[in-house]
């Protein structure tokens, strides 16, 4: 049996209620996605012990931290969690090193496998180590906060929109560090966000929440293509597929990526042959043709089968496409659906205009193909 985090929380206040029952894998990053007010933060605060649920059970890899039916609840400081808040919350009276040491000195026992210098190196904090918190930029301060939480030797890391208070440039500065955490540490991370781009880039699993309830939970690839989830429709709809590097064309600076539905060319170089990569393809960047176009500027044209069509209220329809074992989403006008006489089972060609690559080595933003 795989190790899991099992939780069930019921939390009632006059103006808000939460009722969540989840089983989360003990590996990789699990995104908790939802609009503000959906209960994401309350869920994290219950796990940390910062809020007391009306009723609830929590266990991590079999260790029970909370069980209200036995009136059992571990004190906050005895739950081995690393909490990264939206703001860095660094202690202003301590320098960066002392901030990092705060949790490190209080970790349960020194045999816990965290190496101070490894974490400092991972988040590139050596140049900042003697600074005071008010001498750090927002992005630097948040990096220190992440390292401080990791040095506490947590069994579970909780991140509550750690990038939300940062501007675009600062976010791009931190995201590669989060990628590194993911590949270099084997810590389970719960990552709360209302930004689908961040979630698609970072997360392996996804929990979708709305008004205190869980709408869907599972592997990110399958949750993203669930047509019944209203939050994931619209402009942000898309899918994530996994592939491996097949070859690199130095002349055009293009990498060929193999996945179950064929091969895709993506701009730039992403490591050696067989490097595992993930691609996010937005539904807005996918269009359909009945026959393979021979005179298109678009490089990536792959055969697909129409799996399901979801007609919305407005001008658009969302279409789920199967390519091998993977799924793509296409956002078309309802008129196009009618003109193409689309129906499930149809075999067509999808033109993919751009994709965002997530790689353990380098990352780029959405690139036109």
């Amino acid at each position: 049996m795989n190790a899991t985090v099992d939780l069930h929380y019921v939390f009632r206040r006059t103006e808000f209620s939460l009722d969540v029952d989840l089983q989360i894998p003990m590996q990789g990053i699990t995104g908790i996605f939802g609009e503000s007010g959906s209960g994401k933060t309350t869920l994290l605060r219950c796990i940390a012990g910062l809020e007391q649920p009306t009723t609830g059970q929590f266990s991590i890899d079999g260790d029970v931290w909370q069980d209200t039916s036995n009136k059992m609840s571990r004190a906050i400081h005895e739950r081995q969690i690393g909490y990264v808040f939206q703001e860095p919350r660094l202690f202003g009276h301590l320098n960066v090193r002392k901030n990092l040491e705060y949790g490190w000195r209080r970790r349960r026992d020194s045999k816990d496998g965290v190496d101070f210098d490894q974490i400092v190196g991972l988040l590139d904090l050596a140049p900042l180590i003697d600074r005071r918190p008010d001498e750090l930029s927002g992005g630097e301060a948040q990096r220190v906060a992440i390292a401080r939480a990791l040095l506490r030797a947590p069994r579970l890391v909780l991140m509550d929109e750690p990038l939300a208070s940062l501007d675009r440039a600062r976010k791009d500065e931190i995201l590669p560090f989060l990628d590194r955490l993911h590949t270099e540490l084997s810590l389970p991370i719960l990552y709360v966000s209302h930004n689908i781009d961040e979630v698609c880039r970072l997360c392996d699993h996804l929990v979708v929440m709305d008004r205190g309830r869980v709408l869907a939970a599972g592997e990110i690839q399958s949750v993203l293509v669930d047509l019944d989830l209203p939050l994931l429709g619209g402009n942000e709809a898309g899918s994530v597929i996994s592939g491996t590097v097949e070859d690199y064309d130095a002349n055009y600076d293009l990498t060929r990526l193999k996945f179950s539905g064929g091969a895709l060319l993506v701009p730039g170089r992403y490591g050696d042959v067989n490097t595992a990569l993930r691609l996010r393809i937005r539904a807005n960047d996918v269009s359909l043709c009945r026959s393979r176009p021979n005179d298109s500027s678009i490089l990536n044209i792959i055969p697909i089968t129409v799996d399901e069509i979801h007609l919305g209220q407005g001008p658009y329809a969302l279409v789920r496409l199967q390519a091998g074992q993977d799924f793509l989403m296409a956002r078309l006008t309802r008129r196009s659906c009618d003109e193409l006489r689309l129906k499930p089972g149809d075999e067509l060609f999808a033109q993919i205009k751009s994709a965002a690559v997530r790689s353990p080595v380098t990352t780029t933003a959405h690139s036109p193909l």
């Binding site: 400081h77 009276h93 949790g103």
Partner: protein
């Protein structure tokens, strides 16, 4: 005359001792009280805050009068003290410390309470999640971050105790070497038309009060700029 100014037994020395002991006691008692007031949601909060603030507006003689009754050998606290120690609280140094603590209470509690309220829960929550118990987080995060509040509380409580007159006179009387503090000594010297000595003592108090407050404001502004 020298005994008035030089340490050992004079009123200045007595005043400094009284202020030091009172400040120490007030920090020990005032800190948990201020912490509780900053956190509590009880509906009695306003009533308790008003009680703590009473000495600011109450005439010292009124407070001194009630304390004299309470601490006297037939008063609720005084009787108990006599049974316990064999001595009376009134007209003694211990009685002065108790009276001064009540008299200067708001000057210690209010700056601390303001500092604790400004601190908020954010950094404390961070400390708890980093493995610090409530007490640990209080001493390693709340106290150092409220250093300014502690400085203000210490300076104000000390200076205010040093300058008290009415309460001390009512509770302690005017016993040289025992309860005659500097402000009462000044009154005494003026009564006996000994203006030179009164001048000297007054100048010392004035200089001390100004220096203490100046130091407090300078340090506060320094902290603000950081």
């Amino acid at each position: 005359m020298d005994a008035i100014i030089f340490p050992g037994s004079g009123p200045l020395w007595l005043s400094l001792q009284l202020a030091a002991v009172t400040t120490l006691v007030l920090i020990l008692i005032g800190t948990p009280l201020a912490w509780w007031l900053a956190q509590t949601k009880t509906r009695w909060k306003s009533a308790i805050e008003a009680t703590v603030a009473l000495p600011i507006v109450l005439p010292p003689t009124v407070m001194g009068f009630y304390l004299l009754i309470l601490l006297g050998p037939y008063g609720a606290i005084g009787r108990w003290w006599v049974e316990l120690t064999g001595n009376t609280l009134t007209f003694s140094f211990s009685g002065l410390v108790i009276a001064s603590c009540l008299y200067s209470l708001p000057f210690a509690v209010q700056p601390l309470q303001n500092a604790f309220e400004a601190l908020g829960r954010r950094d404390l929550e961070a400390a708890w999640t980093l493995g610090a118990s409530r007490l640990d987080a209080f001493f390693t995060v709340a106290v150092p971050q409220s250093a300014r509040g502690f400085l203000n509380a210490i300076v104000l409580a000390f200076a205010h105790t040093l300058g008290e007159f009415g309460v001390v006179l009512m509770v302690g009387g005017n016993i040289p070497g025992k309860t005659q503090v500097i402000s009462i000594a000044i009154y005494d010297q003026v009564e006996s038309m000994n203006y030179a000595s009164a001048h000297r003592l007054s100048a010392i108090l004035l200089a001390f009060a100004f220096t203490a407050l100046l130091a407090m404001y300078v340090i506060n502004h320094g902290w603000q700029r950081r």
